[in-house]
Each structure stands twice: as C-alpha cells, then as structure tokens.
Amino acid sequence: MLVETLLLVTLLGAGIVMLAPDRMAGKLAAGISAVPVALTTYMYYVFLTDFDGAGNALLSPGEVAFGTRIPWLDLGGYTVQYYVGLDGVSMPLLALTTILTTLAIVSAWTPIDERQSQFYGLMLLMEVSLIGVFTALDFFLWFVFWEGVLIPMYFLIGVWGGPRRKYAAIKFFVYTNVASLVMFAGLFAMVFGTDVTTLSLPAMATAFRTATDLPVIAGYSLATISFVLMFIGFAVKVPVFPLHTWLPDAHVEAPTPVSVMLAGVLLKMGTYALLRFNFTMLEATARQLAVPLAIVGVVSVIYGAMLALAQRDLKRIVAYSSISSMGYVILGLVAFTPLGMGGATFQMVAHGLISGLLFMTVGVIYNTTHTRMVGDMSGLADRMPWTVGIFVAAAFGYMGLPLMAGFAAEFFIFQGAFNAATLGASAPVLTSLAMFGIVIVAGYLLWAMQRTLFGGFGLETDYEVGRAAFHDVAPLAVLLLLVIVLGVAPDLSLDMIQHAVGPLTGGGA
C-alpha cells in the first residue's frame, strides 16, 4: 500500500496547495512533499535491506517490491489493471523524483512570486505523475501517468516561464505528445502481433520476448518496426539527436525549479521507458540493432556537447549538455552488460542529481543577477562564494570528476560498453568516440565558469549583489552531498540496479 499512499498523499497535497493562499503555498508544498521523501526513503531502506537480490519487475514479476494489483478495465478484450510495484531500476528513480521535487519546491521560494499556490500545486501534480511513471507496471496505467506529466509541465513553462514561454510550452507539449502517439503505435503493433491479452508490462514482456512467426512488413520483422517506432517515441523524451530541439527552448524558458524537474526527472522518463520497453521487451531486436543505436547515442553525445560549446546562455549550455549526457545512457543500454546497463540506469540517477544541481545553481545566480548570459557578468565568486563554490563543484561533477556520481555512471557505461558483445568490433571505437564528450564538456563548462564566476566582479545592477538566502543554497548543498555520496558509494544504487537488469545482461563485463 505504500505506493498508493505515496500517490494519494501527493495528489491530495496538490489539491490542498492549490486551494491554499499564495503566501503560504511554498512552505506548505515543501512540507507536503517531504512526506513522499520520507516514504521513499523508508522504502529505499527496506529495499536495500529486505529485498536484496530482487529481480526485474518485468521478467520476474513475483519479486516486485511493494506491489499492488487490482483489475481495472477491459479494452476490447485487453485487460488493464491497476498494477504498481518497484524493482531495482525504478526504486532509485522514484527516490530521485521525490527528493528532487522537494528541493525544486524549496528552490522556487525565491524566484516564484506570483500565483504561488497554482505553481506549487502543479509541481505536486507533476510529482504524482512522475511517481506513477516509475511505479506503474501496467501499460495503460503507466501511460496515463506518462502523458499526465505533460499537463502540469505545460502550465509550469507557459505561465511562469521566460519571454518565449508560450512558444516553448506548446512546442514541448505537441512534440512530446506526437512522440507518445508514435510510441503507442509501435507498442500496439506488437501487442496485436502477439497473443498477449493483458496489458501489464510483465505479461507484455513475456509475450514479446517469446513471440515467434511475427509478420514481416516491407521486409522488416514486426518486432523491428515496433522497436523503431517505440524508440523514436521515447527518443524525443530522452532526447536524442535529431529529436531534441524542444529541449533547449523548454529549458531556457522554464523557470528554474521546472528546469530542475525537466532535466532531473522528465528526461529520465525517456530512458527509463527505453529500458523497460525497447530493451527489455524487445531485447532480441535491441541486440540486433545495437550498433546503429550506439551510433545514435554517440552522435548525441558529441552533437550535444558541441552545441553546448556554442551557447552563451548558461541554461542553454546545461540543456544541450543534457543531450550529451543522455547519449551516454543510450550507449550504456545497448551494451547489454551489467556495467553498461547498470551504468546507464545509474547515469539516469546521477545526471538527474547533477543536472538538477547545476540548473538550481544557475537559478540562484539568476535570482541575484537577473541574467544568465555568459559575458553579462563576471567575478561572481567575489560576491556569492558559497553558491559559486557549489557551482564549481557541480560543474566538475558534470565533467565527470571522480568520486562524484557522474564519473561513476560514465565510467560504468564506458567500461560496460567497451567490450560489449552486442557491438562487436565497433565497441571500443564507439565507446572511445563517446568518451571524447568528457573533453568537450570540460571545455564549455570551464569556459563558462571562467567568464562568469572568476575575474574582477562586473555586473550592471542598480542594487547590491549579495549572498543568496539560506533556503536557496541549502537545496544545492543537499544535492551536492547526494552526488558525492553516490560517487563514493555507488553500490547504494548500482547494486539493486544490477540485480534488476541482471536477467537482461546475463553476466559478462
């Protein structure tokens, strides 16, 4: 019942906050969102201690943690259930979601100064959907949450965003919606091609994996077509080159707490879904297509990084670098090795924390300076030492500084992909190419830091630029701490992740 409690508490909280007066909405929302954090922390603890060795929720459904299954509806002979549960892949992502939401809410106290109750209500509403996405084990239930994320996001960008917020919001909205439809088409092509009649993910996984004699359309197996359609659908969310252009706009226009959620959690929905659907249900196809997919990942890595290099807006830099970072995830997933897939999932968590941290830091700076443009300001280290200190730490985390989560994740991916059987002889070459991302990322982040944080203080304002408030910096510190903890002890997450992806990887490097 814990998952239901989680969903209900958050949903009720969203309602309460929406009706609360603006003035106290922020604190109220933070308080309410602390409940899911406490719950997930408890669940995490239970998971770590009691569920040791839990398998994949899709492949060994008996071992799902905190599972609930209730029949829901019947769509033309296809059974849909209310079916939730957790495994080693979803548990860390769930924890990431709740923690990041709370921190994002706290970080919104300063920048959000109108229609607060609506803002925080929508944030909590989004949290509901995100919790749902990472816990649902039935396709339609999952899909409700998956699409449900769009609505609060649309408003959060559209109402509280920057100057081009309307364009960004609608672009995000329509783009990702089309993607969902394409994905849906791919999935159901496969559902109808097999004899599955329950739309629970485990049932689909079993049916897809054992499907034989699939129809061949235009020379391609149905599994291939379905895989490609689903990949395109999820790739938009990830995002993967060339389906990424909604991302920079959305990030730049979104208010900082929303960017945090967008980069921190929403992008992970895409890779999470890729793992759950493409790489679990259509494992054989994924293995066949491993090389082209890896190329897609590598291109994303380099392309995103190169674009980040050309930006002047700090948020845009981080936005493009997210594309780069998520490219690693693709590479890790196609490797089908414990370290590759485990690292990819770990990267979802790690990147969620680090990009969230970096966005939040940029936000704190923006709150003070009201500009994000490299070149408009310099020498901020002089005025806001702790913020800048955390910025530097976050940036190095992003660059893959060892003993921070990002390095661990990227290293696992590289290690896992370097001799991946799925990639054959191209494995070392592609991995090495992807690794070059770590050089470029250092390039643009160091450049941006040098220009904005260091040098003589320079910023045209008619007010005194001072230190940020405690409640602005505290979330940063918490995130930084988490990044370091996960970097030093990655097994806190990686172990359960590897247990969960174990049935897919079947051993090896």
């Binding site: 190169m306 050309a310 414990p338 002089d382 190095f396 060892p402 290690q415 260091f454 990655p490 590897q498």
Partner: protein, 701 residues
C-alpha cells in the same frame, strides 16, 4: 604489519585537514594552515614508519597489497575496488610527497599568511585536498583508483592555480591547465577502460594470500600472454583483431596520454608555464615536485606493462628526449623567474621519461626524487625572491639579491647546481644515470630501438648544456650584479617559515644524490647504490617475488621481451666514465657561458643575437598559438556552425512542419466559402466522386 594498518591515515589526514580548513578555516588562527601542517606532518611521520616497514627495519612484512574498500561489488560483473599497495617505489614517493607537502605548508605561512592574502581557508583546503589526492594516487594498487586520484589532483591544481580568481590571468591559466590535461586524460581513461576490459583487473601487482595469488595483476597477465602465449584470460583481442603484443602496446600508449598531459610532455606541455599564475608554494608542490611527477610515477608503477612493449618504450624515450631539449630551449629566453623554472620542470620530466623509455627504471626514479627536492627548493627560493621583490617576477628587475638575502641565495644556488648537474649535487648523479642508461641501451639494443635511444640520448645530452646555461643565467640575473631596481635594492625580508623549508631542501639538494652514486659504486665496487638496492629488493623471495615490481624482474622483461640490452664499447667503466665526463663537461660549459654573458655587474640582454630564433623561442614554438587555435579557431567555429545547423535545419524542420500544417489549415478553411450553393456543389461532387470511384472498384458499370 602495524604501519600498514594505519596507512590509510596517510591519505585521510590531509583530507580531514581539507574539511577543517574549508568549513572551520575562518574561525581558526592562520586560516587553517595549522591543521594542514599538522596533517601533513603526521602523514610524513606515518610515511616514514611505512618506509621503515618496507625496508624491513620494523614490522614483519616488507610489502602490502590489499583491497580496503569495495566501490562496486558488481553483480555478474567485475568488482571495482580501492586498495593500497606499499612497496619501495610507493614508499619512496610517499616520503617525497609528504615531505614536500609539509614544507610547502610551512612555507605558505610566510608566503600567504604573512603577505595578508584573503581566502586562506580556501587555499589550505585546496592544499589539503591536493595532498590527500596525491597520496591516494601514490598508494593506489590499481589503475582505476589511480585514475580517480589522478583526476582529483587535476581538480586541486585547477583550484589552486585559479586561487587569485579576481584577476584575469589565473582563472584562464587554471582552465587551460585542466583542459589540456583533460585531453591527455581522455586517452588515459580509454586506456583504463581498455585495460580493465582486457584483463578484468586494474591491479598493478598481484594480491597474494598465504603465498597463493588470489588476484592477478594486469602487467602479470600481459606478461603471461606475451611471453607464454597464455591469452585465455585476455579479453578484447578478438574484438580488436590484434595480437596480444600490439593491443597491449595500444593500451600502454593510451595510458601514456594521461602521463604526457599530467607530466607536461610535448605536445601537452603548454599548460604548465601558464600554471605559474598560481601561488608559488602551489607551483613548488604541485607543478614541480609532486603532481607533475604523477605521470612519470604512473609509468614506473606499471613498468612491467611497458617493459614488454618496445614500441611504447621507444615512444616514451623519444617524447622524453625531445621534451627535455625542446622545453630547455624555451627556458633560454624567459624573463620571469618562475617561467624559467616552469620550462625547466618540463625539461626535467623529459629526462625522466627518457630514462623510463630507455630502460633506466632506477635512473628515472632517482631523477624523480632528486628533482622533487631541488625543483621544490628552486620554486620556494623563487617564492622567497618574489616576496622580497613585492611580487615582481621579472629577473631584469632584480640583481644583487645575494647579499641581501643570503639564505635564499645559498639554498637557491644549491638547487641550481643540482639542476645544472654539477658534481656532487643531486642532479648530477641522477641526470648522469639517465643519460648513461640511454646511451648504453642505445648502443646495445637491436632493431629500431637502438637508434631511437641514441637520438633521444643526443637530445638529452644537448639539453644538459642548455639547462646549465639557463639555470645560471637565472642565478646571475637574480642574485648577482648590481640591483637594477629600487625594490631590488631594498627587498622585503622573509621570515623563518620561508628560510626553514629552504634550508632543509637546500641541504637535501646537495646531498640527496648520495643515495645512488652508481658511478662511484661501479668504479669503486662499494655497495653504495642504495636506491638501486631499494628498488631491487632481495634477490630471493621478499616483496619482488610477491609483487613482481622489483627492478630485477623489469630488467629481465626489458631484455627478454623488449630487446633492450646494454652495449658498452669502452668497457663497463670506460663507458660509464665517458658518459659522466661528457655530461659534466657540457654542464660546466653551460655554466661558464652563462657566466660570461650574464655574470657582469650590469648584464645586458643577448637574446636579440638569436634573431628569428628568439621570436620563435619567445613564442614557445607557437605551441600555445596552435592549441588555442584548435580550441577557439577551429572547434568553436565548428560548434557555431553546428548551432546554426541545429537552429536552422533540425529545428527548422520542426518549425517547418508546424508552419506547413498551419498554412495547410488556412487553405483548408477556404473550402468553407460561406455560400450554401457552393456547399451543395461540393457535397454533390464529393458524393459523385465516391459513387464513381467505388462504382469503378465494384464494377457497377
């Protein structure tokens, strides 16, 4: 065993001092310096204890190689763990690092605290973190852990170079330092990943339990594969389609990328001169004695892996020899004290690489040791001068300082003589051994290796002269002649905390060469080549048998697998003496030329006589220019072009779809003309179309 049990504290103590300085430094006297001094002092003491243990004076075991922390246990996959490796090499390095760190902390009291710098907690936190990371690197027992700490020292370097962040230069230099080394680390990382993927382990030395090997080391596995053809435990070979030897060479060269970056070897040396923007104690600690040595240390650490690959050895030797000469020539024309020292550092690390590449394992470690001492000394001496000169570093503004700051002068002179390689100062012994090893292996090795070594040797030899020249040009300009500015006439005094470390190092610079007077040992037959013995270990059993990191083993590999052998055309002692005399003569010649050009009371610039060469040298062979061009002239425009492509084409398609749809919509609504007769027409038309089409399909007509 006791010392090893406490060994993790060597790393942790400075880390604690980092935390203390960072969070409590504001509230502590001296901005956290004392915590750092205490931590490094204790680390030094512990290191000495460990060294005594390794030496067999105390404790029961002379080596230690254990995992202490599991980073990733790995489900059906490799485990990634942290462990400690103590053998003579790491013990020696521990001593060097803790000693220099300790002295630099003390020196910083004079250089930073007494000069009234702000941000001291940050400074000491940086030093603490650096010391911890560096020590972590030194004691690492596997490649991944080494890489991790290798990166962390890079971070500290960045933070400390950019300490004076309010100015423009330091942040830029910090960025460059990190970026250039990051470029090298890219290859290193591929190497690490490749080695772990290939061997399933990154261990430098096998772990044994009760005499049984429980975890193989990758150099050991590589050796088995190459020597015995035991490739069944080697992955990747089929994937890359190479033989074991070639693939190991590739891996070795990849790791070498990190070495070249960190140890500032050509072509990734450009960051080091810029790094002099950092506070001078930082230059002494990080950019002279320790961090830059990390690259060389790494090669020494996994020497067993390189020793089976003649190609890698040749590359190392060539890079080393070339860098030694190349950097030395650039040092000729520099006007700023620390710049000369920076190029000198690059050059000296070139020697170490030359030694490693040409089979002179002991020579490299020896030179690493002596260089750490005398270069730290020179930097601290330079720091003392800089304090005195009110942070003016231009040597042409100095002169005549020897009378006003005698302690600094004599210690600096000691360091300079060592650097120039004048007998009996430390540098002479080590440099001579480097050159000697290169020479005899050049003469003796078969195939392509011999000529390569000889070429590298020649470059090394020439740079002996150049080194001596620029060193004494620096000494004469700084300390001799008449003061050329008012500040030089009345320099700022320095305190005990400056003079103390200088004195310690000054004495060491003069004497540390005595630990391995190999020529004397050979000529006289006395067993005074202590370092040689230290690294060789007992002939039977002991740590070399356990760890396979003994000199003897390396020499066997070099000889049997790589084909490195000695040739002594003038007989053993004759060749030895010839080599020593030759290099000493060149060094003295260098000193004398410097004296003749700059030794006067009022020296003048002679660089103009070099003509066009001067321009090239002043511009450092345009190395910075092309690298900057690569970054800003090539990469950045490409990035901009890609941005245009992204905005125009990729996003353009997206926006295009939207505008095409909307204009389609605009056309479509035109059907609705508002005139009901038109509607009737259109619907009739529609109906007729349906009837005709399906009529034709259904065959009604």
């Amino acid at each position: 065993m006791a010392a090893f049990t406490y060994a993790p504290a060597i790393v942790l103590l400075p880390f604690v001092s980092f935390l203390v300085a960072l969070f409590l430094g504001d509230r502590m006297p001296k901005g956290g310096a004392l915590a750092g001094i205490a931590a490094t002092g204790l680390s030094l003491a512990l290191s000495i204890w460990v060294t005594l243990d390794v030496a067999g004076f105390v404790g029961s075991s002379t080596s230690y190689n254990e995992f202490i922390y599991t980073w990733v246990a790995g489900v059906d996959a490799v485990s990634l763990r942290f462990g400690l490796l103590f053998d003579p090499l790491s013990a020696l390095m521990l001593l060097i690092v803790t000693l220099i760190a300790f002295l630099v902390h003390i020196f910083s009291l004079g250089y930073m605290n007494d000069e009234g710098e702000t941000g001291l907690p940050r400074y000491y936190a940086g030093l603490g973190l650096f010391t911890a990371s560096m020590l972590g690197f030194v004691v690492a027992n596997n490649l991944l852990m080494a890489f991790i700490f290798f990166e962390l020292v890079g971070l500290c370097s960045f933070l400390l170079i950019g300490f004076w962040f309010r100015e423009d230069g330091p942040p830029s230099a910090a960025k460059k330092a990190f970026l250039v080394t990051r470029f090298g680390d890219y290859f290193f990382l591929i190497g690490v990943v490749g080695i772990i993927a290939t061997f399933g382990t990154g261990l430098f030395a096998p772990i044994t339990e009760g005499g049984e090997v429980v975890a193989h080391s990758f150099p050991g596995l590589a050796e088995d594969a190459v020597v015995d053809g035991a490739t069944e435990n080697i992955a990747m070979l089929e994937t890359v389609g190479m033989g074991a030897k070639q693939w190991f060479t590739v891996l070795g060269l990849l790791v070498l990328g990190g070495v070249i970056g960190k140890s500032a070897q050509f072509p990734l040396h450009t960051w080091l001169p810029d790094a002099m923007e950092g506070p001078t104690p930082v230059s002494a600690l990080i950019h002279a004695a320790t961090m830059v040595a990390a690259g060389v240390y790494l090669v020494a650490r996994m020497y067993g892996f390189y020793a089976i690959s003649p190609t890698a050895l040749a590359v190392i030797a060539l890079v080393g020899g070339f860098t030694a000469l190349f950097a030395a020539t650039m040092g000729l024309v520099k006007q700023e004290l620390k710049q000369v020292l920076a190029y000198s550092t690059i050059s000296q690390y070139g020697y170490m690489m030359l030694a490693l590449g040409s089979g002179g394992y002991v020579a490299a470690v020896f030179h690493l040791t002596t260089h750490a001492v005398f270069k730290a000394l020179l930097f601290l001496g330079a720091g003392s001068v800089i304090i005195a000169m009110h942070h003016n570093e231009n040597m042409w503004d100095m002169g005549g300082l020897k009378d006003r700051m005698p302690v600094t002068y004599y210690t600096f002179l000691s360091g300079s003589l060592a650097l120039a390689g004048i007998v009996p100062f430390a540098g002479f012994w080590s440099k001579d051994e480097v050159l000697y090893e290169a020479l005899i292996h050049g003469l003796g090795s078969k195939g392509g290796l011999g000529p390569v070594y000889l070429l590298a040797y020649t470059m090394g030899l020439v740079s002996v002269f150049v080194t001596a020249f620029y060193t004494f040009r620096m000494v004469y300009l700084t300390f001799h002649g008449k003061p050329r500015t008012d500040i030089a006439r009345d320099p700022h005094g320095v305190g005990w905390n400056v003079k103390g470390p200088l004195s310690v190092l000054g004495v060491l610079a003069a004497t540390i060469g005595l630990i391995n007077m190999a020529p004397v040992a050979k000529v006289t037959g006395l067993h005074i080549d202590f370092l040689h013995k230290w690294l060789n270990g007992p002939e039977e059993g002991g740590w070399p048998a356990t760890l396979d990191t003994g000199l003897h083993h390396y020499e066997e590999l070099l000889h049997d697998v790589a084909g490195v052998s000695a040739g002594e055309p003038l007989g053993a002692i004759g060749t030895l003496l010839a080599s020593a005399v030759l290099s000493l003569a060149l060094a003295i010649a260098g000193v004398l030329v410097a004296r003749s050009l700059y030794g006067g009371a009022e020296p003048v610039e002679h660089t103009d006589k070099l003509g066009g060469v001067k321009t090239i040298l002043m511009h450092n062979y345009y190395q910075d220019e092309y690298q900057v061009w690569l970054a800003t002239g090539l990469t950045h425009p490409v990035a901009r072009a890609m941005d245009k492509f992204d905005q125009g084409v990729v996003d353009g398609v997206v926006n295009g779809v939207s505008s095409v749809s909307l204009s389609g919509g605009r056309r479509m609504r035109r059907i609705q003309s508002g005139v009901v007769s038109n509607y009737a027409t259109l619907l009739t038309l529609g109906l007729v179309l349906l009837l005709v089409a399906f009529g034709l399909a259904g065959g009604w007509f």
